[in-house]
């Protein structure tokens, strides 16, 4: 199902949660709404679900107005952040709920309900937990129950609010791949809300980066990572080195010294130079315009990072640079930095 969000605005008292947001989600896509807390991503998801109503704007499912329909009538599968499993029902009854509350012609006979629930439990690989209660399940198992329950009503749209937020890192990774796999098996359009960029980049067909109630960029995981449209996206996705520079007469300056870098069409005035740590090489201080003193070197797993203090236009700036394996770097040494890839944005 295609979902069109057109010019949606939502305010909570004086706080603008969504500011004139427009977005099209295509049939069968898995789209991630990615942003920091307060960026409006959950509000957008809840508006698509019908749990929240916009102050203005439109939401259309396959071209038809969805706002005139309540959440009951939209037939969307919603997976809540903390699962919201019915605590007094066992796993089987949780999954069966959406089928049991049907009235009239849609009501299924008991045998059909049982068959459907068992099929779903099998699909999410928790058949053996059918008699358990939510309190007796691990986080990952609860997540699967929540998914099976949402899928029971055969939704064309699956909405997931921070589906892996409450899980530990290992289970999270496992479930992530499994969810991707599940999405491909089912005829469903999925929208996922997350603040975890790694999750969004790994899972989604397209990533919608949100900040301050606006959409900053929509693109494939590769696009938003390699070609961030704004400084916000660059900052939020992936690790970022930021240098406060200045554009003067079509050239970039840092603390008054020319850098010899391309200003990428940014007009004269203060600018920010952004780069990924792994796109910045360490170099001889004399061979580059950017140089500074190493404050400390940290090693975590396969990565090593050096904190380098540079002289900026207004006081010292500390940036993180990648240190290749096998290179020793003592605190206090002067090093030069040479960005291979970088982005310049007007500040």
């Amino acid at each position: 199902m295609t979902i069109d969000v057109v010019g949606v605005t939502k305010r909570f008292k004086t706080f603008a949660a969504l500011d004139n947001v427009s977005l099209t989600i295509r049939t069968g896509e898995l789209v991630a709404l990615l942003g920091p807390s307060g960026s409006g991503k959950t509000t957008l998801l809840r508006i698509i679900a019908g749990l929240e109503w916009p102050d203005s704007g439109e939401v259309r499912f396959d071209g038809e107005d969805a706002l005139s329909r309540s959440v009951r009538e939209r037939n969307v599968g919603f997976v809540f952040q903390h699962y919201a499993l019915f605590r007094h029902m066992n796993v089987f009854e949780n999954v069966a709920f959406g089928l049991r509350v049907r009235r009239g012609a849609d009501k299924l006979p008991e045998a059909a309900i049982r068959a459907k629930v068992n099929e779903l439990l099998h699909l999410v690989q928790i058949d053996w937990l059918a008699e358990r209660y939510p309190a007796q399940l691990s986080g990952g198992q609860r997540q699967r129950v929540a998914l099976a329950r949402a899928l029971a009503i055969s939704p064309k749209v699956l909405l997931l609010d921070e589906p892996f937020g409450a899980l530990d890192a290992k289970v999270r990774k496992e479930l992530r791949r499994w969810l991707r796999h599940l999405h491909e098996e089912l005829p469903v359009t999925s929208v996922l809300v997350t603040h975890d960029q790694e999750e969004a980049l790994e899972l989604a067909d397209r990533v919608v980066v949100m900040g301050h109630g606006k959409i900053e960029q929509v693109g494939s995981p590769g696009e938003v990572y390699d070609n961030p449209a704004t400084a916000f996206v660059h900052d939020f996705i992936g690790e970022t080195i930021a240098l406060p520079g200045e554009v003067k007469g079509g050239a970039l300056y840092l603390g008054g010294r020319p850098l010899g870098l391309d200003p990428q069409g940014v007009a004269d005035g203060p600018a920010r130079i952004l780069a990924r740590p792994h796109d910045v090489d360490l170099a001889d201080p004399s061979s580059t315009a950017i140089s500074g003193k190493v404050l400390s070197v940290r090693t975590f797993g396969p990565t090593r990072r050096a904190d380098v203090e540079l002289a900026g236009s207004s006081g010292p700036v500390v940036v993180e640079a990648a240190v290749p394996h096998g290179q020793d770097l003592a605190p206090g040494t002067q090093v030069g930095l040479k960005p291979r890839r970088y982005k310049v944005f007007a500040a």
């Binding site: 019908g50 919603f78 499993l85 605590r87 959406g98 509350v101 691990s138 198992q141 329950r149 029971a152």
Partner: protein, 308 residues
């Protein structure tokens, strides 16, 4: 969680990999709950404190309770039964039961509605409502009774209206019920509000998103989630409704066989030096207290279990 799980490339089925650690986790938390208490006081101090506490409870609660039953059976069980089956005593028991049933049902409905609206919705005047619900806890029951006398009594605010329609509230069943409802007002609501607030609205939202109607959501999700707390509130409400003296005393008029509840009947018998009869009826109330206590303990256990 353990070294085995960390092994890179260790192939495990999705379900199985989570089942085992979860079981481990649970037994772990249980052990933590039952962990040894930290005891820093020397043995002597502990014994002295325990003895003081036990002596206090025995003297002020245990002894009076035993006395009630001792006095009630002083002249043998025939006298005891005779006191209970006297027409006045039966009338008092009947009235007490009627009043308790009406006030419990009224406060059950009110408590559910109030707790539901307070916990699940935002509306102006919410904090005022929460404060007002607590009012009966802080007001003397006698004052509560007087309020109704001032409102509905023969000199009261609505006196002319009530006389015109020949409605009797004070010195009659309606007055006793009103006073009892006032006094027992907070029990159910107070029990439900924190629980419902803690549970939030996510489960209701989930139910509605799965196609349930508002009513169906209430009966299938909201109500079952609070059933033990609701029962607990009803229990306390009932115990108080049956035992209430002050407020009822003001509005009842003490008409024997008509407007005397059990506590009032006990007082009258006692004032007339009919000690055996008085303590016999009192023993019924004491028995009610004991049953309430046992049921309360069981319910608390259920509640704690649900809280896990």
């Amino acid at each position: 969680m353990n070294a085995l799980d960390q092994t890179p490339g260790h192939p495990v089925a999705h379900g199985a990999s989570e089942g085992l650690p979860s079981a481990l986790e649970q037994s772990h938390t249980h052990a933590a709950h039952r962990g040894r208490p930290v005891r820093t006081e020397p043995r002597g101090v502990r014994i002295i404190l325990t003895v003081i506490a036990l002596a206090f409870v025995g003297l002020f609660i245990g002894l009076p309770l035993v006395t009630v039953f001792y006095e009630a059976f002083k002249r043998g069980w025939q006298a005891y039964v005779a006191a209970l089956v006297s027409p006045d005593a039966l009338a008092a028991i009947q009235l007490t039961l009627i009043v308790a049933v009406i006030s419990v049902v009224a406060n059950l409905l009110f408590g559910l509605v109030a707790a539901w609206s307070i916990a699940k919705f935002e509306f102006p005047g919410k904090s005022l409502l929460i404060t007002l619900i607590d009012l009966p806890f802080s007001v003397s029951p006698v004052v509560a009774g007087l309020i109704y006398v001032l409102l509905f009594g023969s000199q009261g605010l609505f006196a002319a209206y009530l006389q015109a329609w020949d409605i009797k509230i004070i010195f009659a069943l309606p007055g006793i019920v009103l006073a009892t409802i006032f006094v027992t007002f907070p029990f159910v609501a107070r029990e439900l509000i924190p629980l419902m607030q803690e549970q939030g609205t996510a489960e209701e939202e989930a139910a509605i998103s799965l196609g349930a109607s508002g009513l169906s959501t209430f009966f299938r999700v909201t109500l079952p989630n609070v059933k033990w707390a609701l029962l607990y509130g009803v229990l306390l409400c009932n115990a108080r409704a049956m035992g209430e003296f002050g407020a009822v005393s003001v509005v009842s008029g003490h008409v024997r066989g008509l407007t005397n509840t059990m506590p009032l009947h006990i007082e009258i018998l006692y004032n007339e030096y009919q000690f055996v009869a008085s303590f016999a009826v009192a023993s019924l109330l004491a028995l009610l207290a004991l049953v309430t206590l046992i049921a309360k303990t069981i319910l608390e256990h259920r509640l704690a279990e649900e809280d896990r």
